[in-house]
């Protein structure tokens, strides 16, 4: 098989100035269109000639999709806002530091300067069989090459496998879930707002998509309510290379304490399942309990119930158990 890895396939480059125009172009081109935000995921696909869109809609000129707007209700972050801008924004660092902590750990400074929040939450899975252009389930084929006795699946799922075992690779998503963020999607029928965890689609529902965006849809902004502003936050990312890597696993929690007891909590984990996981059962179990090591241990054990490791990723079970424990009690207490 001839493989071209230097020249992108030809496509129509469409560069809208407004979100409405962008959405219109996407609707016109339907499934043949490719949305490009920062381009970091897009150029991999295009230069490897795995994806061959007929039209590429470049959002870099759409200024209304950029920026962080602070209001009494919370903050609204445009989908084209870069990760560096978010990491350095004073209001986010002051009241929503969970998100600034999370995006600060994405890849490298150069990538954070170019990468956008919309792109980070909407990026595709990192499974190398899929990205290598092999005809796996997610690519429309009829096999998962990673879920075989000899498949290289060290980074893959321990939950939610349904034919495909790739995991969602975003660092910002668990923080957004913990902050109870809502994603704003512009469709041909108008604006639609969904809870952060409902933005993602598992393979049991649609194995070829990773989020709810249909052809013609555009993620325009992410709104974070002020309900969790100033709560006690915890974010931790575990990766092979601390200088620059995708997560082997990450965890995010937002906790409100009353007299040392957990009054309210939101807890999310990523890179363990094809879609980011909010641990609702764990949240319910620890509510009203002291935020101490015992509660954290109980939460960790509960979090990994039902985990099914593949050939090479059983390490993810104790890793998740410990990350959840730390997210409940804080790293210092757990150490």
């Amino acid at each position: 098989m001839a493989v071209f890895r230097d020249v992108m396939p030809a496509f129509d480059l469409l560069q809208p100035d407004t979100a409405a125009e962008a959405q219109q172009l996407l609707a016109q081109n339907g499934a043949d269109a490719w949305v490009m935000a920062g381009g970091l995921d897009s150029f991999d696909w295009l230069k490897d000639r795995i994806k061959k869109p007929r039209a590429l809609v470049d959002l870099s000129g759409v200024d209304e999709l950029r920026g962080i707007r602070v209001s009494a209700a919370g903050v609204e972050i445009g989908a084209m806002t870069t990760l560096t801008e978010i990491a350095n924004h004073p209001e986010i660092r002051r009241n929503y530091s969970l998100l600034s902590d999370a995006v600060s750990l994405v890849a490298s400074p150069q990538i954070r300067n170019q990468g956008t929040l919309g792109g980070n939450v909407s990026q595709d899975v990192r499974c190398w069989y899929y990205r290598g252009g092999w005809p796996c389930y997610r690519a429309g084929g009829n096999i998962c090459y990673a879920d075989t006795p000899v498949g290289r699946n060290r980074e893959h799922a321990i939950f939610g496998a349904n034919r495909c075992v790739a995991v969602h690779p975003s660092d910002s998503v668990p923080a957004l879930i913990a902050l109870d963020a809502r994603f704003v999607v512009q469709t041909a029928k108008g604006e639609r707002e969904v809870d952060a965890e409902d933005y993602f689609v598992g393979p049991e529902i649609d194995i070829t998509r990773i989020n709810i965006l249909q052809p013609g849809d555009l993620l325009t902004a992410i709104r974070i309510p002020n309900a969790w502003a100033g709560a006690r936050f915890y974010f931790e990312k575990v990766r092979d290379r601390n200088v620059w890597d995708f997560p082997l696993m990450n965890v995010a929690s937002a906790v409100k304490l009353t007299g040392g007891n957990i009054d309210q909590i939101r807890l999310a984990v990523n890179a363990v399942s094809p879609r980011p996981m909010r641990l609702k059962a764990v949240e319910d179990a620890v509510r009203g309990k002291p935020a101490n090591t015992d509660t954290g241990r109980m939460a960790g054990n509960m979090a990994v119930e039902g985990a099914v490791p593949l050939q090479f990723n059983a390490y993810k079970i104790p890793l998740m158990r410990n990350l959840v424990k730390r997210a409940i009690v804080g790293q210092q207490e757990a150490a």
């Binding site: 009829n142 689609v201 649609d206």
Partner: protein, 286 residues
């Protein structure tokens, strides 16, 4: 137009991966075309229902008011199989036309129900019913030839009244059997590719090429069932066929309908004797 989708395997081999999903709509259109053409034929041509005299007039008096046609066991099998088939079609094809839901688990469970019901049917019909009643016999073929000749205005003898099943019914059964065998055999192997908790996964049981053709065969038989199901439901609700449909619910058909359509010599009601001397016990099943 491509009827199959092909992909390049990791070893550089071009392999089929499944049917083109546009075949779903072709099957739907084929099913509805059958309905329209058949309905127009009956409305426009108005073919007369003419049969030769039955072979066993003497047995008419013995025909009861309610002629038993399907046993309770046979009816239960039919409706369980129908429910599983509808579930299989819904779980297989609705996600392909944009209605997304968690379909895989329901699909293989419905597939196992279908497999179990078909296995039961094979044993039941072979050892407890009149096995040959659903297969075309010599009279069916001669009658088919005569009906065709008469349709084209040729001189040919009148066809006989039906045995338990008309030839069309028997041919439909044969088509369903072939398609059913294809989806069941391929479906059982395909369960080795997904996590079911029943089989140990082994996606390398066959080569990519063999798996590909298996998926294609499964898909072709599946879309075939779309057309077959549309035809079956259409025939089941046609006014002149309602007595047969009712018999699949209540188990019997009226004496009048029986005498109008069926030949006591080819299918005798319970309690009567056919010309061949066979009691009805051998032919009152499915």
């Amino acid at each position: 137009m491509n009827f199959l989708q092909w992909a390049r395997s990791p070893w550089g081999q071009s392999v089929p991966i499944h049917i083109a999903w546009s075949l779903i709509w072709i099957a739907v259109i084929a099913g509805f075309c059958f309905m329209v053409v058949h309905a127009l034929y009956l409305i426009v041509v108005k073919p007369p229902k003419r049969f030769a005299e039955r072979k066993a007039e003497a047995a008419v008096a013995a025909v009861p008011e309610r002629v038993p046609r399907h046993t309770l066991t046979a009816r239960l099998f039919h409706w369980i199989m129908a429910a599983s088939m509808i579930a299989l079609l819904i779980t297989a094809f609705l996600p392909r036309v944009g209605i997304q839901f968690n379909w895989v688990v329901y699909h293989w469970i419905a597939g196992l129900v279908l497999t179990a019901s078909i296995l039961f049917h094979v044993v039941h019909s072979t050892f407890f019913l009149d096995f040959w009643s659903i297969w075309p016999d010599k009279t069916d073929l001669i009658d088919a030839r005569n009906r065709t000749l008469r349709f084209f205005g040729k001189d040919a003898p009148l066809p006989s009244k039906f045995a338990k099943y008309p030839l069309e019914n028997k041919l439909y059964h044969a088509a369903v059997m072939v398609a059913g065998l294809a989806v069941i055999v391929t479906g059982l192997f395909m369960m080795k590719r997904v996590q079911t908790g029943i089989f140990v996964r082994n996606p390398y049981l066959f080569s990519d090429m063999t798996w590909g053709w298996m998926y294609v065969l499964h898909g072709l038989a599946g879309v075939g069932f779309i057309a077959l199901t549309i035809m079956h439901i259409y025939m089941g609700v046609r006014p002149e066929k309602l007595p047969i449909t009712k018999s699949m619910i209540f188990g019997w058909m009226s004496r009048d309908f029986y005498l109008e359509e069926h030949d006591t010599g080819r299918w005798a009601p319970k309690g009567a004797k056919s010309d061949s001397g066979k009691g009805l016990a051998a032919s009152d099943g499915d």
